[in-house]
Symmetry: C2
Subunit: 323 residues, 2 copies
Amino acid sequence: MNLPTLKDVEEAKRCLTGVAERTGLIHNKYLCDMTGAEVYLKPENLQMTGSFKLRGAYNRIAHLTDDEKKKGVVSSSAGNHAQGVAYAATKFGVKSTIVMPKPAPISKIKATKALGAEVVLCGDIYDEAYQKALDIQHETGAVFVHPFDDPMVMAGQGTIGMEILEDLPDADIVICPIGGGGLISGLAVALKSLKPSVKVIGVQTANAQSMYRSFKAGKLDICDCKPTLADGISVKVPGDITFEVVKKYLDDIVLVSEDEIADAMFVLLSKAKIVAEGAGAVPTAAILNNHVDVKGKKVVSLVSGGNIDMDRLAGVIKKGLSK
Amino acid sequence: MNLPTLKDVEEAKRCLTGVAERTGLIHNKYLCDMTGAEVYLKPENLQMTGSFKLRGAYNRIAHLTDDEKKKGVVSSSAGNHAQGVAYAATKFGVKSTIVMPKPAPISKIKATKALGAEVVLCGDIYDEAYQKALDIQHETGAVFVHPFDDPMVMAGQGTIGMEILEDLPDADIVICPIGGGGLISGLAVALKSLKPSVKVIGVQTANAQSMYRSFKAGKLDICDCKPTLADGISVKVPGDITFEVVKKYLDDIVLVSEDEIADAMFVLLSKAKIVAEGAGAVPTAAILNNHVDVKGKKVVSLVSGGNIDMDRLAGVIKKGLSK
């Protein structure tokens, strides 16, 4: 199996220079006070397209051959990868078709179309959209851009790890959301290659815990998803490659509840002044609820994205105010 | 009259190193698309205490003599300066008393107390709180830390201008909110001293336009304030010193409406994924509504703060969704 390497991540970093925003770290006093740690947010919600996904998608599409570019690309996504693929494909003049599950946030569907992709709505969860995208690939010969289980995609996401260590060389712990595992795989390759002592912790919602269960069992486990605020990480089947990387590099994976996610979104909004989508708030939920022992440590909590429908955000505020 | 100089700003920058966060610029594609400009946000809502005010207050309090520190400080503020003074005073072990107008956002009152200040609520608008603070100064001998009309306070705010030019040396236009004028004064001194060609434009809400009218008339004008979403810049009487700096350096001042402010807050939330308070959104309101000609230019839109009650933010979302 072809796992991504530090060299792949370094090459992706060159590829993404001038394309992806170089997000800085945000030191947040409230989160420090609440956790007893030095907490830094890595705000990939401020990334172009509103999430980190642009990095991996762009790196993948940049490496297509001219022949592949002519055939176009197809992908499946709950919404953030969709926007990354659409943005990158349009940038390279490549036709893109994206299959999204029907319950995907309207804002994500609209944004994907606005970036130039043809959007096909299919299925109730990500995995059904994925099957449809594979069908389209077989019919059309388009190149499938996998949202996570692709070394080039992982390498793109891994550039986040390089940036974290540039900004905070003495980071002790980096905490990252997990859906299919693409983000944390790239991140872990970069972090553990550059600084083996740094701890890399993954977080899933208890309502979609396939990678958590796979990690704990030591073998790939498929697991149905319940509805979750963290739609961006609601994945039934972890990646084969990502699981190998996760097994090799991760220190732990923890779970957070839906209530903890909503609370963390409210804290990020009211105290850190940023909009995190549910998936983007799970690392902050984990440290605010002591699922990770961070006291006295330098901790990076990765806010992976901020693409949430505003009516849903209003619901999070209402819930937060009622406490 | 003792106007702040570039040297004062440079000294403030040394003073603030390791204290104030070094906020980066955020390049936002949506705002670029909407305006035809290269738009960068300077997110001082991500600053410690949720606004730029910490910079000026800290610089002022850092320069107190030991005797002055013993007497404590007193100030008046709609909320953001309050938090800056409270944070800085507590850091130096100095007692602080802050007078806030009664309609100040609850979140700002709470945060100020949490930072260690004694809070006195008095009056309906900032200017009444200001009078009360002067009374306390006379009674107690505490040092009055003016929220804007003080060269050391302006110099602290001016560090934002130095950072902008470090990050974007070819900035064409910097757009900044105006209340009493402290922020834009420091900013203009720094920007125009370092790069005379850069345009500095101020923005006020039409509901509190005292500096706008003073600037247009060429003489200080007092002007009653109507209720505004931009509570942080609702000031009846501009500063004497700030007005001199504004006259000397500013290229223009423009007004925005309350509807434009609410729309800009919604855009910053939904498209830039950051929480701006009303005052923090006026520059973005100005460029989104063509009050400043920015087409083809490199523009910095200063988001001065993000301290807004969450129920008020919910109202902004509701209004934004209804369009």
